[in-house]
């Protein structure tokens, strides 16, 4: 009992009660326009029935829960909480992949076949659309951002800008913007792919070259600003982008080569195959890129830029390269989205989007291609489920609150992600012992 009232223990109690109050707020009712404190009132004062057994005020329930957690944690978890940052070995996805070369190949083939057969398992119209627009595309985007954040260790918060550049380029090439297209004919979106990639890459280089020489956090804020600026431009340059209403004239993908011709239409399934095909290409390309000399250079720069420079790696060159590759894949994803949706408006391009993609990368495990893909699928499917079939009291917009919290929680407990890349995992462990570039940030006294 004495230990329960010690200073340290009371501090812990304060922390636990604060967090429960926060959860209470997060799960409580929303505020309204004329009564902004309604949210507070509902969160703390509302009487709720629990399991039909008893009816009581929310705050009483949460207070009790907090106290129970506190007592439990003091009694049973003497040596600190069981939930904590693990420094040990990797227990990622690779554990489940067979070691044998042939078994491994078989495993991968089975996985790919499963992905290709997915539309036959999914019959619900909502999920058929979501599968393409919200899952497959986001896997592609996450793979692209992973090159920047995971491989090169740069934080890009304006990923949406390159995505926007991709969509608007498609609209331009296909002759659906007020700005005259560069060619006489309105072309189909396939032609936009190389052009959008080139423009996205060029803008990535233009933005990255000046800012990548500076400290990493400058890049983060400049990209953040860039994302916002692109939206402002898209909204206001009427004669180029069509302003706030954008355009809804973008044609579907199609090809006519000799006797073969095909037109993608409103059905999401053909688009699913289109996206999956490209995603697999990107997946393979990024895998080999990571294993190549370039990938090793990125690792070296990420771990210790000065040391990398001293062995003849030009950090700026490789950082710009990573940035441009990330931009290119976002631009590419933009083309697909434009072709499928047929429309583009500036409000598709919000900070929300960039953060969403960042969450996918962090959740899966930055630097791990498989991890990021799996993470993206998991997060997006959960998101879509919540959107489609929200639990009572849950507004779809609240989702972003949970995504933000997820970022913080991941960074505290599992910075290398759910399916960590081996190399990345080791880096986070080493940093905690003062190896690598981690000690740039001030370390507090450890009183634990």
């Amino acid at each position: 009992m004495k230990s329960l009232l010690s200073k340290q223990s009371l501090k812990k109690l304060g922390g636990i009660l604060f967090l429960t109050a926060l959860v209470e707020l997060m799960t409580g009712g929303p505020g309204q326009q004329l009564t902004p404190n309604l949210g507070l009132k509902l969160s703390f004062g509302e009487r709720v029935s629990y399991f039909g057994l008893f009816v009581t005020q929310r705050w009483l329930v949460f207070l009790t829960l907090g106290l129970i957690i506190f007592v439990l944690s003091s009694v049973t978890w003497r040596n600190g909480s069981p939930v904590k940052y693990v420094r040990g070995t990797v227990s990622g996805f690779s554990k489940y992949v067979p070691r044998n070369k042939y078994a491994r190949a078989l495993f991968i083939v089975a996985l790919v076949v499963l992905v290709f057969l997915m539309p036959t398992f999914v019959s619900n119209a909502y999920w058929r659309a979501a599968m393409v627009e919200q899952v497959a595309i986001y896997v592609l985007l996450a793979l692209g951002l992973n090159v920047v954040v995971g491989f090169a260790g740069l934080l890009d918060l304006g990923f949406v800008a390159f995505y926007a550049i991709g969509t608007y380029t498609t609209a331009w090439i296909t002759g659906s913007l007020p700005l005259a297209p560069p060619f006489h004919h309105a072309l189909n979106p396939f032609w936009a792919i190389p052009i959008a990639i080139a423009i996205a890459m060029a803008s990535g280089i233009l933005l990255g070259a000046p800012t990548l020489r500076l400290r990493g956090d400058y890049l983060a804020i400049v990209t953040l600003g860039f994302g916002e600026i692109i939206a402002v431009l898209a909204n206001n340059l009427f004669s180029v982008t069509g302003g706030a209403t954008g355009t809804n004239q973008i044609p579907h993908f199609s090809f006519h080569v000799g006797p073969f011709s095909y037109l993608w239409g409103l059905d999401p399934v053909p688009y699913y195959y289109l996206v999956i095909g490209f995603t697999i290409l990107f997946f393979i390309a990024f895998h080999f890129l990571n294993e190549s000399r370039i990938g090793r250079s990125w690792t070296a720069i990420r771990e210790d830029e000065v040391a990398a420079e001293s062995i003849g790696i030009n950090p700026l060159k490789f950082k710009v390269m990573a940035f441009a590759i990330g931009a290119a894949s976002a631009g590419f994803a933009g083309v697909i989205t434009a072709g499928q949706n047929n429309f583009v408006t500036p409000d598709m391009f919000t900070l929300q989007f960039s953060i969403n993609v960042l969450v996918l990368v962090i959740f899966g495990g930055m630097g791990s291609i498989t991890g990021v893909s799996l993470g993206a699928v998991v997060v997006q499917v959960v998101t879509m489920q919540l959107d489609h079939n929200p639990p009572s009291g849950f507004i779809p917009q609240d989702l972003f609150m949970y995504l933000g919290a997820l970022l913080v929680v991941m960074m505290i407990f599992r910075p290398a992600g759910l399916f960590p890349a081996k190399r990345r995992h080791r880096e986070f462990g080493q940093a905690s012992q003062g190896i690598g570039h981690g000690n740039e940030v001030l370390m507090g006294e450890t009183n634990e």
Binding site: G39, V149, P210, E228, L237, G434, G438, V441, G444, E445
Partner: protein, 317 residues
């Protein structure tokens, strides 16, 4: 290009002094927010991405304070000053509270573990995003108009510029707070510990400075100033959950412009940015004003990343 630029020299000639007043008032707000960035940067060498939410929460703090106390009539004279002070104090308290929350939750656990820099940036952006959306949920995703604590009218005319009460309030409050802060950091024992940690944290801790407490203090000071700034912004435009983003981005530009880590630099940068931005309506289509600040940020980073006064971590002022 297109309708991006608009050349109206006549506007600049006719309204130079008005634009200057508006620019200075905005500049003081940027300066107050920029102090938060610069202080945290000084001790942690990190940009506090969650600072925009500190600004936003200060606005809501001030809103609730005024809503609970103000009657239906708009007060006058001395009582106006009292109400503004009340709003500012509550805004500062809430701002400091939120900043402390961010430090405790998003920074301290990582600091204990000596996590790589990117982990700090990600957890800070996560905290920021969390707070925005929590505020959106709690207060509704609408613009909330603040009850006015004073009648906004032309207080006096200065060289043809009509100086409104609102601008007067901003300038007076900001000047008092900035001067107090400057003296506090330069003279007091706590201020000295902030400077010591900014110069060399390890040595400072050997000299008996409590690093954790000092870092907490910088967040509190920055948060309080940011909160007041948020309240001041909201007096004019109302409070909405996303209101922190743009002022914070501009304040960051101001901090870099003046030299990040440099307190006086942050003030100088803020004022300069405010005035340049306000004057630029003569050359740039008003819809693109936000682009101007961003352009300045990129230019400064390109040509003088250390800012006008240079990065002076840990020296007086």
């Amino acid at each position: 290009m297109l309708n991006f630029f608009s050349s109206h020299w006549s506007i600049l000639q006719a309204q130079f002094w008005s634009l200057l007043v508006i620019g200075l008032a905005n500049g003081f707000i940027y300066a107050m927010v920029a102090i938060g960035y610069t202080l945290v940067y000084g001790v942690l060498r990190l940009i506090n991405f969650a600072h925009s939410e500190v600004v936003m929460s200060g606005a809501f703090g001030g809103y609730f304070a005024l809503r609970e106390t103000l009657g239906s009539t708009i007060p006058n004279g001395v009582s106006s000053i009292g109400y503004v002070m009340l709003g500012a104090v509550v805004g500062a308290l809430v701002g400091a509270l939120v900043a402390t929350f961010v430090e405790r939750v998003a920074y301290r656990p990582l600091r204990k573990r000596n996590a790589p820099k990117i982990a700090f940036l990600i957890s800070a952006i996560g905290a920021s995003y969390f707070l925005v959306n929590l505020a959106g949920k709690e207060f509704g995703r609408y613009n909330t108009v603040l009850p006015q604590p004073y009648v906004n009218k032309t207080a006096f005319t200065f060289l043809g510029a009509q100086v409104q009460t609102y601008y007067l309030v901003i300038v007076v409050f900001a000047m008092i707070m900035l001067v107090v802060l400057d003296r506090f950091v330069a003279k007091s024992r706590l201020g000295r510990s902030i400077r010591a940690v900014a110069q060399d944290a390890e040595t400072a801790s050997l000299m008996g400075v409590n690093i954790d407490r000092t870092i907490g203090l910088t967040f509190i000071i920055g948060g309080a100033l940011g909160g007041v700034a948020g309240f001041m912004i909201a007096l004019n435009t109302g409070a909405i959950y996303t209101m922190g983003f743009v002022p914070a981005l501009k304040a960051f530009t101001a901090a870099v412009l003046g030299g990040i880590g440099n307190l006086r630099g942050a003030v100088l940068g803020g004022l300069l940015l405010g005035v340049v931005e306000s004057m630029s309506v003569a050359f740039v289509n008003p819809a693109f004003i936000d682009v101007v600040a961003f352009g300045i940020l990129v230019l400064v980073l390109l040509f003088r990343p250390t800012g006008i006064l240079g990065e002076r971590l840990g020296r007086t002022a």
